[in-house]
Symmetry: C2
Subunit: 523 residues, 2 copies
């Protein structure tokens, strides 16, 4: 869906000037013209805008350019008004409100052009790295305000800098679009998320809708409005809704699946007619699972690992080709796949001492395999993986596979019927599908069915600012999702147990994965 | 239409508590319950209310009482929330925003009971007594702010006092309803009315709708909302819309007419299917006419005058039976009718010296008839009427009659077909229809067709707070009015000239008015 000019949030209209025969008031005249041009039923105007309206309409000769949000009910909100022949820059700000990192993007509302981007660590990390720690922090005196202030100030500081870089003022930002998980969204809005982590896990709000940026404390034009993406529950946030919008799952005839492995693992399966979703954090099996693998991606972090099954030589790639200082999630998956292919671990994921050789040692009572010796690492310490890390990875990949099996099974689909498999997030951007298939984390589909979406949360937030038709899709997507609580019953646990092998106890599910024979010839 | 409990703005709902099987967020759960109970499509909640919602819903065991406004589009605004078993007083404030006087009324939103009323002079009178002076004042530096501050502070001070008298706090006021003429409404909202008095007479806004009282600066509950009555143009204000609502013209099968003689003379004719309106101020013939007659009603002001056509003795009645200090509008009409019946003035409204006798004198070159000699008046001066006053009254009554003739004629009606003739305002409350008929100001209808509405602006503003169905009627009434610019053409001027006689050149139109024969026997 390529946005055309007609689908921008900026509209120019010419009003017929008032006369004795048509003495409609200024505001009502403007509203009628906008209703006619945009199909709205009503257009809200702020008091400040009303006050300036008469002089402006007359100075502009009744030819105006309007920036306004509207919903499917036909209710418009006039956010900004300027002369039709003015050359003002009219901007939007898309925000990917991540638990770990926040990404900002400035968008020209008229052309849809991306003017600039900024990334920064979520300043709430100072309070705690994960959602749970932060939610617990709201119980401490002033904790709620502190968390709210940290993120609002973070967004404001970085928006200011980004605007300077783009050569614009923050006052040119009229529309804002914010996609984040449910907890981050609540903290930004100053809403206490405490009931989200207590049975039965209830957010304060599912559909925050459009709010004044001034009410959020976000520095933009004083009359600017923000669309805050809705959530489908405590564990299925606006970032995922943005992802669905970004990959157009809600418009597709064919059923697709979208997997986002960020702080949690969230999965949605569907097409233009239906969508089912579930989130990994809801299943106890995943707790501390997928989420804690490896180091955050960055310069010097190992993102690709290969092992020659004959020489057992380890080949690593680091981000930015810097000296290695850690292994990120995609690197850990690559490593496990390589260890399995070279028979250095068995189908249970346990080290095979006779294949590992000198690299295997015991550190603090734990079996540890060295990948980069201290002498070659940037940290001066051995970089490697312990049996405990591998056990955790096995649980994580088994949980992921079981969730995928459960969600497809819930609608009577076989995994091989999945036509398109979208992987979102930075994890999706770096993961090698072949490695993930080798360890049985994801189904053994033809590689071309896997599509990495990159930052689909930012992508979806941007789409709303580029194309007005996306506004209603956001709400339709949310309302159309059937959220499936992962029922961790005996059936789930049986599947989970079967998935705790490499690639699976049922190897027929992974025809492309050859079970290693333990020597280099068989590979 | 008697409001029933179902039509109050206060609704109690019980929410099903959340569970793992129904994890809808708190706000969305409340919205769904309200939508179901009230038929709304969506319910807006302020950020502050959202923040408090989770703890409150749980403390109140999911049983709540809500105060909310809603429109016909199904958009609700949640204004206040309390526990279902709370005994809080929930109040509304109805405001008749008059040019001369402002009336406040506190209404219990649950029972509809009127808890108290206050009247005060519009403090803008300090700037100028009439609308035009005040509109001109906005051109002086700070003039707009001054006028806005005067009325806002006036309302706040008197609301505070009224609340004290009623034994409530202003914070218990959640809904406000304001009916005033277009200029007064604009000044209250801080909207510059300058274009209202310049061709083609355009207000800033016709339908201000619902605004936050905090944005108006009106002291009530911080989340309170005000419905500001819409207008049908610069000269047909929300006070008249309130009057139409109050007399139920928009619900009646039978055609009625409503005449409001306040600062201007406004007339509306119609029934449930159609309404046409016009305003006297639009016609140059009325300028300074109806509006400037007599003294403002108050203690000591003469409101009734009779003259014995035989003895020529003048019988007066003063408000509060105080010593006389002036003659109010209704008194002037009574006086003119009595002078005409006793042949002290002729059919052109000119003094007849031989009938007036000693009472007639020349003061400052003007013929002056003494009603109360200086020795008996409270002011120590002669109270009476000059030929210029009478000439002015004749023009005013002729203008009023011509407007009535024009508006009925515009829909092909005869005046005698008018089933109900509502007279609004304090003028309507005091005027004696018999006297007004005698001078030919209003049509010669059976007296029982005349109904004085009293303060119909306050009445209409109150109705909206008492009965939620009235909210939509207000907008329907406005949209249903065809505003007729009084086209002062030759035809109008011919009618006007014919009406400048007592009661009319065509005496057949006033069969009940006997033309005086000049002696006491013939009366």
């Amino acid at each position: 869906m390529t946005p055309t000019h007609d689908n921008r949030w900026v509209t120019s209209v010419t009003l017929s000037p008032p006369s004795l025969g048509d003495n409609t008031a200024d505001a009502d005249r403007l509203e009628a013209a906008l209703n006619k041009a945009l199909g709205t039923r009503s257009v809200h105007m702020d008091p400040e805008l009303l006050k300036q309206l008469p002089e402006r309409l007359r100075a502009w000769n009744y030819r105006v350019t309007a920036v306004l949000f509207k919903d499917s009910g036909g209710a418009g909100i006039l956010v900004h008004l300027t002369a039709a022949d003015a050359t003002d820059t009219l901007c939007g700000l898309a925000v990917d409100l991540g638990t770990t990192r926040v990404v900002l993007r400035i968008i020209d509302l008229l052309s849809g052009e991306h003017l600039g981007e900024a990334v920064f660590d979520n300043p709430q990390t100072a309070v705690g790295p994960d959602v749970l720690t932060r939610i617990h922090h709201v119980e401490t005196p002033g904790g709620m305000d502190q968390l709210n202030r940290l993120i609002v100030e973070g967004i404001n500081n970085h928006t200011q800098k980004l605007c300077s870089r783009c050569g614009i003022s923050a006052e040119t930002i009229h529309l804002v679009s914010i996609a984040g998980n449910t907890a981050m969204t609540h903290l930004l809005m100053g809403l206490n998320p405490r009931w989200m982590i207590r049975d039965p896990y209830i957010p304060v709000v599912n559909r925050p809708g459009v709010v004044k940026t001034a009410e959020l404390g976000i520095g933009a034009h004083p009359a600017a409005r923000a669309l805050i993406f809705p959530n489908a529950g405590s564990y299925f946030g606006g970032d995922l809704i943005a992802g669905i919008l970004y990959c157009d799952m809600d418009l597709r005839e064919e059923t697709a699946i979208l997997v986002d492995v960020g702080t949690n693992a969230e999965v949605v399966l569907g097409n233009r007619n239906w969508m089912v979703a579930c989130a990994g954090a809801a299943g106890p099996a995943l707790e501390g699972g997928v989420t804690r693998m490896g180091t955050t991606a960055g310069p010097g972090v190992i993102d690709r690992i290969g092992i020659d099954p004959c020489s057992m030589a380890i080949d690593i790639h680091t981000i930015g080709d810097q000296p290695p200082r850690g292994i990120c999630g995609s690197g850990v998956i690559d490593l496990a796949a390589a260890l399995f292919r070279s028979s250095m671990i068995d189908i249970r994921g346990k080290f095979v001492p006779e294949r590992c050789g000198d690299r295997l040692a015991t550190q603090n009572g734990l079996a540890h395999l060295t990948i980069v010796p201290a002498s070659q690492s940037a940290t001066g310490k051995n970089l490697g993986i312990t049996q405990a890390d591998l056990d955790s990875l096995i649980r994580s990949k088994a949980a992921m596979y079981t969730i995928l099996e459960t969600i497809t099974g819930s609608v009577g689909m076989q995994q091989h019927e999945l036509g398109t498999f979208f992987v979102a997030g930075t994890f999706g951007a770096y993961i090698d599908p072949q490695s993930a298939i080798t360890i049985g984390m994801i189904p053994d589909l033809p590689r071309d069915r896997y599509h990495s979406l990159g930052n689909s949360s930012l992508g979806g937030a941007s789409r709303v600012l580029e194309d007005s038709r996306c506004f209603d899709r956001v709400n339709r997507i949310r309302d159309g999702i059937t959220y499936m609580e992962l029922n961790v019953n005996q059936d789930f646990m049986n599947r989970f147990s079967a998935a705790k092998f490499l690639p699976h106890t049922d190897t027929a599910r992974f025809p492309s994965v050859a079970v290693p024979a333990g020597d280099c010839q068989s590979i």
